[in-house]
Symmetry: C2
Subunit: 330 residues, 2 copies
């Protein structure tokens, strides 16, 4: 027969008990775009607000082929050995474009998947990156409520997803590929400016020396940027996820970052700013959506655009007319 | 005594006659943020809509020290010799931050300044980059109405100004410095993706060979990007503005671009898209401004933010409450 949907209490108790099946269902509910799921979804989330925040949130990015899955698996296993609980969330803009996801395949991390102390969740994306960011933030909160104290948010080096992920984590890690000569590609969109640590992966065998050289090039490049407000000087390191080398050293850097930014209170300040931005993003997106989905606006917009293109009226006049039709004073 | 302000007719006739003093005054009027200047400013602009568009609009960017002024002066003088009329507009975000402008000084182009066929206009910036873009677009239209058939929009390789300028020109030129090893800096924000031509300047003396090598590195880097929709393959060249070398070759590339994109109609299509974006930007900025400047919203926003930070309500709940107070259905 038909499965009965879970009640808000079942969701809340299940998550509190760290039940991964219920956690997964709750995230699915939150990701739902159906209007009728919204009330329950909001209720669950709001029930966990006070319980959230007790993790370090780490963003991880890098181009396809850099070895993110192997890296995350090895980092995750190390952390579990240290007694931590690790959640892995992915934000993958590629899945929208190609209908096949670069990151979505759970089987990428077979060892981690076996552990009860790891939770892996590929996030389906919708067209709206803001939307993705929105749901990922909520998933982070649910994972924290379920007791995960390290949340890894993985994204791929394509499009604007890095900026979105950067805006919802405490620490941002950029993975680079040793000896691949992808310097130009990797830094082309200012991702380097977002990084708290750059780790050159696949630094093994003949690539080890190259990786060391590249590390010093990146160190110099980082020196070109103004110092970060949080007092943290971005670091460059290298590792081989495949051979499980350099992962502990990298984690030590993250720990150092954690201690330093908590001590100078920038950790907390950043979280507060992120909460504020979260609120304002929803506000701005809703206003925009409301405006453009208005039937009157839609029709008028097309008519006015035609006049703008024929240079009968200016873009400003058209904008004013459009706004007036929505009772907004220009 | 008090100078009498010009009438709309005086403005329109003056600009039609190519009077540079009146053109300058019209731009000042358009840049004014005073409410009472808006009507006249709109009237003048609207009067010229049909006369606008008859120029090639060229965006020029590069970090401070790359030699933009010398380059623009030499390019301008070459074009004037060819019988063209050249307007130079600058968008300089640095002037807001430092109160001193990198680009604002008119004496940077003494030879060009002497010519009746050149018009140089440093644009003061306000904090809002959208605002800058908005006024620069309008200035372009006035310059075209005044008979300038090449409009150079100069900006500095800092911040988001390149993207803004890219959105209002037909052709985008990135100047690089030969032998300065600024590769990393110049490409860090994806500017390379915007460029239709990259020109390596100061390619003279010992730097000539270095510039040639760098040109081939950039050519390879450009090859990594997907082809542009307009069918134009970005080119890399080198020049020495100081020694007036390579400027004609560069102009030939711009000419080639002009002919090719006009032939395949992407020139016109891009202009139409830019007009549409212009309209929508004004709409979105106005909606946002209206919302945040509402007194009720301001007070409520602070109250709600406090509750969000103390985790009493979620960012979503706060956003909904804020929107409801403005009669916007979440």
């Amino acid at each position: 027969g038909q499965k009965r949907p879970l009640s808000d209490n079942q969701f809340i108790e299940g998550i509190k008990n760290g039940d991964q099946t219920i956690l997964a269902k709750a995230i699915t509910l939150i990701e739902s775009t159906k209007k009728q799921d919204e009330v329950l979804s909001d209720e669950i989330l709001n029930g966990f607000l006070k319980l959230s925040g007790n993790s370090i949130r780490i963003g991880i990015t890098g181009v396809p082929g850099v070895g993110k899955s192997t890296f995350i698996e090895k980092l995750g296993l190390l952390l579990i050995k240290k007694g931590r609980k690790v959640a892995v969330l992915t934000v993958d803009p590629s899945s929208t474009v190609s209908k096949g996801s670069i990151l979505g395949d759970k089987t990428r991390m077979p060892e981690l998947l076996k552990s009860d102390n790891a939770f892996i969740r590929p996030t389906p994306t919708n067209n709206n990156l803001g939307g993705v960011a929105h749901k990922t933030r909520e998933s982070i909160i649910l994972c924290e409520a379920a007791g995960f104290d390290v949340v890894l948010v993985e994204t791929v080096g394509v499009g604007q997803s890095e900026t979105a992920v950067h805006g919802m984590v405490d620490f941002f890690l950029l993975l680079k590929l040793a000896g691949a000569g992808d310097d130009l590609q990797g830094i082309k969109r200012g991702i380097i400016e977002l990084a708290d640590v750059i780790a050159i992966n696949k630094a093994d065998g003949a690539n080890l020396e190259i990786a060391k050289q590249e590390a010093s090039i990146f160190k110099r490049a980082l020196g070109l940027f103004p110092p970060k407000q949080n007092g943290w000087e971005p670091q460059v390191t290298y590792c081989s996820a495949l051979h499980d080398e350099g992962i502990q050293e990298l984690w030590s850097l993250i720990d150092e970052f954690n201690i330093k930014t908590k001590k100078n209170a920038t950790f907390h300040k950043k979280r507060e700013e992120q909460l504020q931005n979260w609120m304002l993003e929803i506000v701005e997106q809703t206003i925009k959506k409301n405006f453009y989905s208005n039937q009157k606006v839609k029709i008028l917009q097309d008519q006015l655009l035609e006049k703008v293109l024929s240079k009968t009226i200016s873009p400003k006049q058209a904008a004013d007319m459009l706004l007036s039709s929505f009772d907004i004073k220009p």
